[in-house]
């Protein structure tokens, strides 16, 4: 594990709700998250478990009918629970940045990619127009785009999927952020390109010394990337651990199921392992009552699981939300 630096983000009891016609949906329900400079934390869960909503909540980009509340939310010395939107805008892109799943739809089709990178510096008044363009071209070269001078003048549709994701990585990195949130940045890419993009992302993160919150449903990636893993199920953290602890002694039956569905943990280069190997699906968030949300699918469920399970600390930094470990 890399040396963990200062805490850059610390959120306690983050709740994100959406008011839908059929009722209020709690997409993220009481998430605790602490991220340190220099570390890579993977946020893992099946589709619909609330990973993207978590990322957007941390960015402050949840729009109505969505609503975010948090008992405590510190980022880089700022109290985000009281920070006005105009101040938050000054942090976004410069101190906290996000990379999205689909690089083509994340880029403006009618703007040159170089301009889209340089725009970050322009928005925050960090460079003159000429200087911003120069630094955008330079960074484009560093993220592995050949002929950067020429490529900077391309439009997104003229680039390959991998090149586009390199561009969005450049957009995220040009402001030297303290935290990068990457929401399944390789899911839309070819397997061969995925590895290159992952290597690039960790390389950039290491050189910036920032924290990386990597959102994925692919456990193959987690093993080779993460320092710590947070497992999300139906909007709740069900387990959190250092990556070695999680793979060696998984606590939550959901995590156990996930790991069992990965064919060979020692060969993490095998990618594209979906988390659907556990029978059943994530419950409808509108209908979850009290009790463990995984109990319908759990082979170790019993009567106690009808009550809200406690979060239990198994060892330092290893927490599980499950009745199995209560009273030990």
């Amino acid at each position: 594990m890399r040396n963990a630096g200062d805490v850059v983000l610390s959120a306690r009891r983050l709740v994100t709700t959406f008011d839908t016609p059929s009722g209020r949906l709690r997409a993220v329900d009481g998430l605790d998250l602490h991220l340190r400079l220099g570390e890579v934390v993977c946020l893992v869960g099946e589709s619909g478990s609330g990973k993207s909503v978590t990322g957007l909540s941390l960015m402050g980009l949840i729009d109505p009918p969505g609503h975010v509340t948090c008992d405590e939310f510190w980022f880089d010395g700022h109290d985000l629970t009281t920070l006005p939107e105009s101040e938050m805008e000054r942090l976004r892109g410069r101190r906290i940045a996000m990379i999205f799943q689909e690089p083509l739809s994340a880029l403006n089709p009618s703007r040159r990619v170089g301009d889209q990178i340089a725009e970050v510096l322009r928005i925050h008044g960090l460079a003159s127009r000429a200087e911003a363009t120069r630094r955008a071209v330079e960074l484009l070269g560093r993220v592995g785009i050949d002929d950067a001078q020429l490529r900077a003048r391309s439009y997104p549709h003229q680039l390959s999927g991998g090149q586009r994701q390199r561009v969005t990585i450049a957009i995220a990195c040009i402001g030297s952020p303290r935290l990068i949130i990457a929401d399944e940045p390789t899911t839309a890419l070819d397997v061969t390109v995925q590895t290159q993009i992952l290597d690039l992302l960790t390389e950039m993160q290491t050189s910036l010394g920032s924290a990386l919150l990597f959102i994925t449903h692919d456990l193959g990636i987690v093993a080779e990337l993460a320092d710590r893993v947070v497992v999300l199920y139906a909007g709740q953290v069900v387990e959190e651990a250092a990556v070695e602890d999680l793979y060696r002694t998984p606590g939550h039956p959901y995590t156990v199921g996930l790991l069992a569905s990965v064919p060979d943990v020692d060969a993490p280069r095998k990618r594209g392992v979906a988390l659907a190997a556990i029978p059943g699906t994530v419950p409808n968030l509108l209908e979850v009552g009290t009790g463990c949300r995984f109990r319908e699918r759990c082979d170790r469920a019993h009567d106690r699981c009808g009550a809200e399970p406690p979060m239990i600390t198994l060892s330092e930094g290893h927490r599980v939300r499950c009745w199995l470990y209560a009273g030990r």
């Binding site: 976004r92 410069r94 996000m98 739809s105 994340a106 403006n108 089709p109 009618s110 549709h157 402001g175």
Partner: protein
């Protein structure tokens, strides 16, 4: 970009040529002898007069020869002479064409200047008071027929406020202020009618574009929601709006028929209408060709705008 414009230009030229052929055919191939039409009831009475007229108009020659000479005349700016006045049609068209273009240009500018901001407010404030108010205003403008909005404008600005003339025309060279004062109401009448179309299209297109991931990324870069909408969503949202404006350009031209009559504006449409009543068929032909030319030119202008805004159009449009 140049190659794209070249292709659009060639397409426009072909369209115009086909339109000219259609104008010619509609007068010469359709049942009904134009000469008989011209002479009205007397036609049957005196076949000699008819024959003389045919010779005078060149209608006794084979159709293909007539077409070639007409097209040849078109190419050299000769559209024949008016049967009523004997004046060259081309000269009259060239005098009236700019007046109609002015009306359309003014109307279009007003429609975009009002319609686009209205559409933006409506899309941005969906579900809020400002958004709903903007939507209602857009629909009101859209549903008022041009003669209704025209009459309301006259009542308000000429009769009540007495600040603009209710109708008439003064050459720009003669009195520029008066010229623009006369233009104001007819252009606004066309503009308000078309504004509804522009506003509704802008609202629909922008509501869709606002949800795109790149607008979210723009905010993740540090732009405010409004800045992200204006800088990233709006330019892309306007591409289909411009296309629809092009398709609806016919509405504008149609609008000028009513507006030129209502405000006594001596443009192409009023020329066409009076020529039809007088059965002055060289003038009818000339006015129709000019109107088609305006149509094609608007289309070309729209294509050029689209090519500038959307880089993908330049490559995909063959």
């Amino acid at each position: 970009m140049l190659g794209y414009l070249g292709r659009r230009f060639a397409a426009a030229a072909i369209t115009l040529a086909l339109a000219c052929a259609a104008v010619f055919a509609s007068i010469h191939l359709l049942p009904g002898d134009p000469v008989a039409m011209l002479l009205g009831e007397q036609a049957g009475a005196d076949p000699e007069v008819v024959q003389k007229m045919r010779g005078q108009l060149g209608l006794d020659r084979p159709l293909i020869e007539q077409f070639i000479s007409w097209i040849g005349g078109l190419a050299t700016g000769d559209l024949g002479r008016s049967l009523r006045t004997g004046e060259p049609v081309f000269a009259d068209v060239m005098v009236r064409l700019p007046r109609s273009l002015e009306l359309i240009g003014g109307g279009l500018s007003i429609a975009m200047l009002l319609g686009i901001p209205l559409g933006v407010v409506a899309a941005r404030g969906r579900g809020r008071v400002a958004g709903t108010a903007a939507s209602v205003a857009a629909i009101a403008g859209f549903s008022a027929p041009v003669f209704v909005s025209g009459i309301i404008l006259v009542i308000v600005f000429s009769l009540w406020l007495d600040i603009l003339p209710s109708s008439g025309f003064v050459e720009f060279a003669e009195d520029p202020t008066m010229h623009l004062a006369c233009l104001a109401l007819p252009a606004t009448a066309i503009g308000i009618n078309f504004m509804g179309v522009v506003a509704r299209m802008t609202r629909a297109s922008l509501s869709d574009t606002m949800t795109k991931e790149y607008v979210r990324l723009a905010r993740a870069k540090g732009l405010s929601r409004d800045a992200a909408i204006l800088k990233h969503a709006l330019p892309n949202a306007l591409v289909p709006v411009i296309a629809v404006i092009g398709i609806r350009a016919g509405n504008l031209l149609g609008g000028t028929v009513i507006v030129e009559a209502l405000f006594d504006w001596p443009g192409l449409s009023s020329m066409l209408v009076s020529a039809v009543f007088a059965r002055d068929y060289p003038v009818i032909q000339g006015a129709l060709v000019a109107i088609f030319a305006v149509f094609v030119l608007i289309g070309l202008a729209i294509d050029t705008c689209q090519g500038i805004v959307d880089p993908r159009t330049r490559e995909s449009a063959a």
